[in-house]
Point group: C2
């Protein structure tokens, strides 16, 4: 039996946002590997083993998947969103690079998914309709000085920005510092979107200005999108729409 | 009858990358509006009118969709990739902002899709596994000076980068100038991925270094991904894997 590893994106939460490619891979799998809440999105069935693991053990989880595939298993590593955006795909290739030669010969595929920032942007309109950047605000895996430098340069470049992992209990102060960096460069009336748990029953959207935004508006289930200087707010009954025009004048 | 507009992302090309949410919206639609090659991806059926339009008439197309929805039509505006990334969603909201009040009262939804850079990244490994930016290199809608400024700041911020619309017959020189800007900041051995027509029969992937990259390697069906300083190439039999590690050392 030829084993394989598919690193699959389950999207932000709703089943209607899981691609048929991912659904087909799960249907063929013998083993599912991933962080507990993502593995729990997979329906159990005979012949399928679910391997749940905790947060922050991404490399162990990746090695486990690769070892099983070498032994002939058909393994789906599940991520939320897109596996290539602050998720499991990089961890698997990191394990491959440092691992035995047999892992380089494996059939490893990455199956893209709807990443959180694009699901959030869609719910609010089109705030990422022009040039933008995506920054992981967690300083678990990189020094804070690099985050701050990127924020400052991205603000100077007038990108719209999406922030992943804006705030955790362990590092509550980082997001407040990020807002201060943005305020030192960007206009106080820059629109900012807090999008929590998009496409799930707990979905909450909130549009503020940069001057009114506070760190408490985000938690680890929130994606934050900051507009560029051209981002517009369309007021209407109900939630406003945000969009960034395709054109920038000379 | 209550009309609506859904701005839907068809993904990069393969049907297996179209979300069930988009498939359901198309099944309920009375009218499909979009650029010719995207409308041709929709199967004709009784009761469904297909409205094809040419490139560069995005605002006219958006207004047409909104007018039909006010009259009770269920309109799906189709984009390739994700409609919120250099595609039709921003054009629709631009039309809404400048249009009659009735348009603000419409049911307008954006249905996310797999955008080209994430499909391309998935095929190659995980080159966008850390902080990254997305830049439209077309200077149809913005001054070249802004593109160059963004490229320079993004290179200084050490983002991985994805370029949409790198090169057209009308503006062949822009991508060459972009490569020069990158070379003035980034190391010559920075990996660069040319991913053409991902997930279609014409798919082609090519990995080069920044020093060896030439403008002819891209056309308008290509997404270009430039690594950060930490992006790794894993050599193996067959196409190499590219990935950007999740961590950056202090």
């Amino acid at each position: 039996m030829n084993g394989w590893v598919a690193i699959a994106g389950l999207g932000p939460g709703a089943d209607a946002l899981v691609t048929p490619e991912v659904t087909a891979a799960v249907a063929e799998a013998t083993d599912i590997v991933g962080y507990i809440p993502y593995v729990r999105r997979i329906d159990p069935r005979p012949g399928l083993t679910l391997h749940e693991s905790d947060n922050r053990v991404e490399l162990d989880r990746a090695r486990h998947a690769l070892e099983m595939a070498v032994d002939g298993a058909r393994v789906v590593v599940v991520s939320s969103g897109d596996p290539g955006v602050f998720a499991m795909a990089a961890a698997v290739f990191e394990a491959v690079e440092d691992g035995p030669a047999a892992w380089r010969a494996l059939d490893i595929r990455v199956l893209p998914g709807i990443t959180a920032m694009l699901a959030a942007a869609a719910r609010a309109g089109a705030p990422l309709g022009h040039d933008f950047c995506a920054i992981n605000l967690s300083d678990n895996l990189k020094p804070w000085a690099l985050i701050e430098r990127r924020l400052r340069l991205a603000a100077e470049a007038d990108f719209a920005m999406a922030f992943y992992n804006p705030r955790s209990k362990a590092r509550p102060e980082g997001f407040g510092r990020s807002l201060e960096v943005l305020r030192s460069v960007r206009s106080p009336d820059t629109p900012i979107l807090f999008a929590r748990a998009v496409s799930t029953a707990e979905e909450e959207l909130r549009v503020e200005t940069l001057s009114d935004a506070t760190p408490e508006m985000a938690d680890m289930r929130t994606v934050v999108i900051v507009g560029s200087s051209t981002t517009r707010v369309i007021h209407r009954e109900g939630a406003p729409w945000l969009y960034t025009p395709r054109s920038v004048g000379a």
